[in-house]
């Protein structure tokens, strides 16, 4: 196995001990993200605090990348404004699509996703939670 493995400690930690992983049924706004291709299926729940993300939780099942990415997302966006989240989502997409550039991840908390940029096939796993959150904000 190459040293480039995506299964770095930080990612595995998020997968094994997902942050903010809990029932979304109490949240103000909920959106489901699913990828029938690999069976990833998660729900994101948000409580807003004015224009900001007050509380965010997620629930569901998926591969380690999908679950870890969702977990990292909840940590990254808590307290951020809607616009900040939308911008961050866009930055993350661009960063991911760059594949191997030197650009660091838009947030330090997301750095563990770096190795995945070589694998365009994992794009959807990484972005599933982010897409769902974006939908929530756009609907609001």
């Amino acid at each position: 196995m190459t040293t480039n493995t995506v299964y770095k400690e930080v990612l595995m930690d998020h997968y094994r001990n997902p942050r903010n992983f809990s029932d979304v049924s109490q949240s103000e706004a909920v959106h489901r993200g699913s990828n029938p291709r690999c069976g990833d299926d998660i729900k994101i729940g948000v409580d807003f605090d004015g224009d900001n993300i007050g509380k965010i939780v997620f629930q569901g099942r998926g591969c380690s990348v999908c679950m870890a990415s969702a977990s990292m997302m909840t940590e990254s966006v808590t307290g951020a404004s809607k616009n900040e989240v939308l911008e961050l989502t866009e930055q993350l997409r661009e960063w991911f699509d760059e594949k191997q550039g030197d650009t660091p991840a838009p947030l330090e908390t997301l750095f563990a996703l770096d190795a995945l940029r070589q694998y365009p096939a994992r794009r959807r796993c990484v972005l599933l939670a982010w897409d769902a959150l974006e939908s929530i904000i756009q609907v609001e």
Binding site: M1, Y7, R37, C38, G39, C63, V65, C66, Y119
Partner: protein, 422 residues
Amino acid sequence: MSTNPYIKQTFNIQKQSQLIRKDFPLLNLYSGDNQLHYLDNAATSQKPQQVIDAISDCYQRVNAPVHRGLYALADESTTTYEKSRKKVAQFIGAPQSEQLIFTLSATESINMVAQGWLKHHLNAGDKVWVTGMEHHANLVPWQRVCKETGAELCFIELTEDGSLDLDNATELYSEKTRFIAMSHVSNVLGVINPVKEVTQRAAQAGIPVLIDATQSVGHIPVDVVELDCDFLAFSAHKMYGPTGIGALYGKADKLATMEPMLLGGGMVDEVGDYESSWASLPSKLEAGSPNLAGAIGFASAVDYIESIGLQTIESIVSELTEKALFALSNINGIKIYGPLDSERREGIISFNLDGIHPHDIAQIAGESNVAIRSGHHCCQPLMRRLGEVATVRASFAPYNIEEEINALLEVIETAQSIFMPR
């Protein structure tokens, strides 16, 4: 076949695969630590140099419009195209070359039958049967035709071990049944279905049967007369041939009563301003400029298979499968789908590991140059029946060698050490 370089009694199967492997330039690109363990053969096979050369040769020597020119090169292209048809037709035992239609893919072949034949033979309340293990290509077209006509889609369910539960498909041969579509070999379970048993009873009841032979042609013997099916669909790219070409075989009366799905040049006889009449078979079902290089590549893939011998292919793959099944079944926390009896399966093995998502296994495999597949394999209905969202799948070809099974086992060990540390 004493002149067959691949068969020497003194060779063991390992050596035969190694010899065959030499024909596949893509595999030979990688060596040493970078060696590519291509175990995604059920998705698409690699191509031998012989097929690649046949395609180049077509463009360098034969290329001209098919069926329409009065110069020598156009004669050559026409003759070569029709020879290719004959070759592929004979390979599946079609009584007449005209019964073999070149298509875009197995997918297109099946859609042609759904839209061009079954749609015109279905009424509300009729039944169309498929199985619980079909590839989307052999399911979604029937869903649509049933919806369009008000017919009912029925499923032959599976037994615990992934065989067809024919005993419990009590209405299968009933008066209401108008069509049965089933796969010869499942692209997930690897199981070889008892097609003959179905066609025999269906014939008594006057029910046409389509066989999706995408995973069987080129892998195990397929003879349409012996199988007695009404339609048979397959793709070249799964049997060492080019991408972008497939075939449809049909019984003469079925093809004769089929409405063409595609209309245009080559498939017409007289074209009025408002109405047109169709040409005879096989042209009627091949609208547009024929795919000359595709047909030639397809035929050369058949040549290649025949040069090795289908039996040799079968025995290499079945030995690999048996060994892999044995080794895999000793792994803790593994679940293997489909019958374990290697007599009843091809070289396709789907499995899952406790506590590890199939995607993660395939990813870890990819990082070690082991090309395996994870996902639903275009078989979501089967996944539901297995109670899984996805599986890992390894599938063998005659160019695979035993050490590639070990590479797969190592990948599993790595995955378990990452995800299930003791």
